[in-house]
Symmetry: C2
Subunit: 395 residues, 2 copies
């Protein structure tokens, strides 16, 4: 490595721009703490002339991210392009093959191709770092990969998507419907024009697959994630949950069971006494359970330019300090194959809301069905009466 | 370093014993993740024959911790003796001077002598690691020293003492008095026979001084911590706090101000909407505010054998991997001198409870005093009437 760590930054959206700002503002801090200065050896993005927050003309421009990835003038390729394939994948592969360290915020890329990319990094002995890809400003990856490594981790779960958490918080606080709140989130810039990636749980699933790989030492398997989003949640559900002492959160949950690894993304009823119930708005949280640590939770902004840029630079600091940890805590050759727990092995509690006609005998019918299927009830709530019409029954 | 990392463990209380258990149980995990096995080169404690959870006879015994610290058979000295001076200090100094890495859980030692010990570590190029000293299982030190290093940290605060948090939680839930709950905590082993270190805030202050040093890059100054404990809190205060929408927590708070660093430990009214208000029982939490990260919180068990042992082994993992970070994030020569913010520079909100005689004019007198001292009120609560007797007035 040269005396200064030279970066090639591909993708100049808000995160890329904040990373450039951070390096400009705290470059001395970086050098004094790592013993190594940091410089920008080149930048690349779709459009050179787009109006940006800062002047990028001092940086060498590359039309082609792949060319930047292979440039002799860089030590580390910072991929902030996004997308599971295309230029992002091509440029990261090119960088690793050229023996460059890679720092990326791209969860889709890692969830789909993380293992093969990690193999390339192993072969070249370079870092493939991705703190920014999961839960933004929360150092979840480093914590699991380093601080909690002494533990056998049994479960990792969390609120991994700020858009969904914002929507659920706003629905609860205002009593408004999903569609109204989504529209507002889009106006505020908290949700994309096409929100399906976020609200249907895919983004959470990407992050969960990565967390499971790091936590359990098994190869990532995004396809094995059971995914359910938040579109179908009604203000009524949120209100009933509160009455029962719960708050609805979209969680990604990965559990190591005796039957294999279970990965699921779906709305959950979280007891109000749990700290994670109080993680609101765009904040994210990651909870890790281990055999010696018991349980720990990490909370912070899961997205946004500043926190994400901070996570990118944290990875650069480790690279500058010469700290090398295998991509998913173990070299790929030592990772176990992914073994999915069969869905029928799952036992748990469920929230069911029925809209039942208010007439004698309906409740007995419901109870019969539950009994016939060996399902027991913890709580039942029926509110209001409207003879001949449908009323909600919640259990 | 030899092929296996050889440990000398001094202090075989519950943490020391759990560290030995963890190494025995997860030794292979350690080796596969670090590329380096771990062995115990010797142990030392006050009594060799004390009845312990595990058989320590396979380990080489040292009557003298200082002799163990200097032993040729160890690479890392693990100090779990405790106490700010005496054998703990002598053995840590001896280990550092002999060029051994040191891992310690001793917050009193670091709060009082951390800077001089760090100087010894700097001189020998060895690690002085202390994740276990602050907030037990929560990787607060590594997070601040590495993951958040790209940020200018403006404030670090938290619930740093599990005993106090347990007492405050139990007082709130049961409505019982401090003395009753303390006695119960002592029975359960959550509080020491002499509880003053915990309940008077000294333990929190030790941890706060360490956090401030790591977060702000200035030399530690334990003497500059303003300390107030929890003995004087009554169930009445806790009840009023809840009614006003707050929960009482003992916080340690270090803030970087334009006038210098402010360090204070005292009970605080935390708004119920804040996640830290919901950190209950013996759990700890650390919150860090930085310029790019905004705010992040880390929660977990702040004490207990398992979490503390996990933190000790996390430091050993970093040492085995060859990761070297200066003790307080910077070499001592580059740390700024500590500059304390003058107490009169502090502006904030306060909770005041008066027991006032219920007679006409009392309230006007109180209001006059506040006005004459340029203090404004946000909320006032008076509950109940008892003419001629004292009733609580809260503001």
């Amino acid at each position: 490595m040269s005396e200064a760590l030279k970066l090639g930054i591909a993708g100049l959206g808000t995160v890329g721009i904040d990373a450039l700002k951070l390096i400009a503002m705290h470059g001395e801090r970086f050098a004094s703490r790592t013993g190594c200065a940091v410089e920008v050896g080149g930048v690349s993005a779709r459009s050179r002339r787009k109006n940006r927050d800062i002047d990028i003309s001092p940086y060498e421009w590359f039309d082609d991210a792949v060319a930047l990835a292979k440039s002799e003038d860089i030590d580390v390729f910072v991929e902030l392009i996004g997308g599971e394939d295309g230029v992002a994948k091509a440029s990261v592969e090119a960088a690793l093959k050229a023996g460059k360290h890679v720092v990326t915020a791209n969860k889709a890329l890692l969830a789909h191709h993380g293992v093969e990319l990690a193999r390339l990094a192993d072969a070249k002995g370079v870092a493939l770092s991705f703190e920014a890809a999961v839960a933004g400003g929360i150092p979840a990856i480093k914590t699991i990969r380093e601080s909690l490594l002494a533990n056998k981790i049994t479960r990792v779960y969390g609120i991994l998507n700020g858009t969904c958490n914002y929507i659920l918080t706003a629905m609860r606080e205002s009593g408004r419907k999903f569609d109204d709140v989504l529209a507002e989130a889009q106006e505020k810039g908290y949700a994309e024009a096409d929100p399906s990636f976020d609200v249907d749980g895919v983004d959470t699933a990407h992050k969960l697959a990565i967390l499971a790989g790091v936590a359990f030492g098994c190869r990532l398997d995004f396809e094995a994630v059971h995914i359910e989003g938040v579109r179908h949640i009604s203000p009524l559900d949120i209100q009933f949950a509160e009455e029962l002492g719960y708050r609805i959160k979209l969680l990604g949950i990965a559990t190591r069971t005796e039957h294999g690894v279970e990965q699921r993304v779906h709305p959950c009823m979280v007891p109000l006494a749990a700290p994670i119930a109080h993680i609101e708005d765009v904040f994210n949280a990651v909870v890790v359970d281990g055999d010696f640590i018991d349980t720990t939770m990490y909370e912070g902004r899961g997205a946004g330019a500043g926190p994400t840029a901070s996570a990118v630079v944290a990875d650069l600091i480790d690279i500058a300090r010469g700290a090398r940890v295998p991509t998913f805590a173990l070299p790929v050759k030592d990772m176990e194959p992914f073994k999915a727990a069969p869905p029928e092995s799952r036992r748990g509690a469920y929230y069911i809301r029925l809209m039942a006609l208010d007439r004698p005998g309906v409740f007995a019918d419901v109870a019969d069905v539950l009994r016939d299927n060996d399902i027991s009830m913890e709580a039942v709530l029926q509110r209001g009466r409207a003879p001949g019409e449908a009323v909600p029954v919640v259990m």
